[in-house]
Symmetry: none
Subunit: 406 residues, 2 copies
């Protein structure tokens, strides 16, 4: 057993849903293959960051990969930007952004500029703006989404969003954490940049055309999630494993990119419930000729739960299960199935409830549990761990952990 | 209940072995006495150092005895030297060593000098060498093994081995961690000492005799595992228990010695699978007239697992079980059976898998588990602990724990 397939189903676990007879979607789903893996392996509960901590997907993934988020995480921006294809460098300040619509008093009319799709001409018009010695990169995301990177000296990410997060509110001035002169400078640059792009975008032909067609113009970019890319050791430096990532959604590719995983693009991997999971698993199996560790991310579980669609989530879990038939049974690969966090389909938010973890392979001390779900997970042999424990346990199962002492 | 018998079976736990029907040797063994203890007691799982950490026997034992390894461990040398009978003092730098054979270009011909047995005359020739103000002690071990102690001021153990660990390679120069002047001085002394002993040993009559008989001369000592003996509180200072150690193998006596346990030598305790476990248990029972705490170490389980002999390991566990008949049932002594780490018979290495722990005695809240093995341990009432938890739990079971608060 020399290979690891880590499948993270985003927001897989849930809370009991009255309409499912007080079962979670995972408990309610028909999932013979996950249960077979549970039977042949060991299950447990994991708090990906810590007990009682409600994690975002970014910090949850970093934590599962063994990165101390207090040391390596300062905001989502760099990971998102990396996922959009920016080669983020250590020291860069990055943001997530939305093309949005403001009136001439800077009041937010539409936070997504009518879910605009055609942003390329706008980005060309504002890209490579330089303010003082700071280079500013704008990278197109899906739809209205965009990533912004500030590159230069004396920048800091301890600044507030320009995005008020609510329509009808006024565009905010970015404000720095008090007493931090780099942050003050960065906030000033952000505000100057925002004014500049309004000037450029408000009269841009594409927007004038939109107004003619009664569509809201994309005349501003709202910034949020400022983060600085901190110096971070690569996954290979940490574990001496050649690693790859198969994911549809940008953030996960971004995190993988930043820790030096190879991104394998799979046709049909959409980051949505319509994704082709079979294609992703097939691509993972194929990639093991070159890689020791494949991180396979499945986003649909979280998307459906955040829409409140618990029935859809249950069905999507059944779709995952059918795809897993490809790897059950399989003794040459250590198969790990887990989630980055719980997503409550009722509350439509991430919650701090621990996630179930399943580890199957021929080196595993199997436990007595034959069902993979939230309710059985605490009875499993893995017990209760936190995210930072997972990688050391997996590396040791491969027989590749460093020896402490002699 | 005023006495504790702590039986540590080195590398007792294992991973499932295909040829044993995916059972571990402990699961496959016939062990009615261990199971009786489990029935009368409480079991659990223990990570002796931490979750996901693969421990050497030295750090595992220190951790189980309640010593923080980050504070009290800097290398195996002092513990090994102490086990060979050197009275190691705080501040001493000690090494494990092998008598070995080099050619005149310092290439390693035999890392064990033909497993030489008669090293006493060689040791007499090189013992009590003094370089500058540093006293160097050489202590005979079993066969080709030897311990070396550097005693004096301004020494540091952050230096590399002279042992290249592979035959055909050249003897290494010890090198210091950069920027550490004490370590630089120590590395220089180690290299000078190594040259000196080559000069003395290469023409030693014993070696000339070996060459005549076509045996490889023991003309060098390869050093490894440099460690400094740090100031360490005694077991008595920590727990106010009069303690003794019964062990065959040197390292364990060494650790016990350093924390101030009385070493009880038992005829037939060999540190190998042929050891006389009954004699050791009888000696332990007898010693309780003078001691409150007896640490009884059994090495055979680890030796057999590191040889890949899972059948032998299973049989040896059955031998341990038969010897335990002497103490089942026995209500006046708190009986603890555990391991320092898991040893995988397939991989032939220590692994980070947690070890089962069994605590039996009349003060114990017994659980529902009647079988002492890896698969049942996680179901036990003790739950999941780390090594540093064990001693406080045991001391409290005696009713002798200090009160926190008032």
């Amino acid at each position: 057993m020399e290979k690891i397939l880590l499948i993270i189903c985003d927001g897989l676990s849930d809370r009991p849903i009255k309409q499912l007879g007080y079962k979670t979607p995972l408990e309610a789903a028909f999932k013979p293959n996950l249960d077979k893996l549970a039977y042949r392996g060991m299950i447990g509960l994991m708090n990906t960051v810590d007990i009682g901590v409600r994690p975002g997907s970014d910090v949850a993934h970093l934590s599962i990969f063994g990165y101390d988020i207090n040391k390596y995480y300062s905001g989502r921006g760099p990971f998102e930007a990396s996922g959009y294809g920016v080669k983020v460098k250590s020291g860069d300040i990055a943001f997530r952004g939305n093309f949005a619509t403001v009136d001439n008093k800077m009041k937010i009319i539409d936070r997504r500029a009518g879910r605009i799709e055609e942003t390329k001409p706008l980005i060309l018009a504002i890209n490579k703006i330089k303010i003082n010695d700071i280079q500013i990169l704008v990278q197109q995301g899906v739809g209205h989404r965009v990533a912004i990177v500030f590159r230069g000296k004396n920048l800091d990410c301890k600044i507030s969003d320009t995005d008020p997060h609510l329509e009808g509110k006024t565009l905010l001035n970015s404000v720095a954490a008090s007493g931090n002169s780099d942050a003050e400078r960065t906030a000033m640059l952000v505000n100057e940049f925002t004014q500049k792009i309004y000037k450029i975008l408000n009269n841009h032909p594409l927007n004038l055309g939109r107004i003619k067609r009664n569509l809201p113009p994309a005349n501003i970019i709202l910034l949020r999630g400022a983060g600085k890319l901190l110096k971070i050791p690569s996954f290979y430096q940490k574990y001496h494993l050649r690693s790859a990532c198969i994911a549809g959604a940008g953030l996960y590719k971004g995190i993988a990119n930043i820790v030096g995983m190879k991104i394998i693009n799979v046709a049909g991997a959409t980051g949505k419930p319509d994704t082709d999971i079979v294609a992703k698993i097939k691509a993972a199996l194929k990639s093991f000729s070159k890689y020791d560790f494949v991180f396979l991310h499945i986003k649909g579980t979280d998307v459906l739960a955040e829409d409140g669609d618990y029935i859809g989530k249950k069905k999507f879990i059944e779709k995952i299960d059918r795809a897993l038939k490809l790897i059950v049974p399989r003794d040459d690969i250590l198969i790990v199935v887990t989630a980055d966090h719980t997503t409550s389909s009722r509350l439509k938010i991430h919650t701090a409830d621990p996630v179930p973890v399943l580890i199957a392979g021929d080196e595993i001390r199997s436990d007595f549990i034959k069902t993979f779900d939230e309710k059985n997970a605490y009875l499993g042999g893995l017990g209760r761990i936190t995210g930072n424990h997972l990688m050391p346990i997996l590396i040791d199962l491969l027989g590749r952990a460093p020896l402490k002492g002699a």
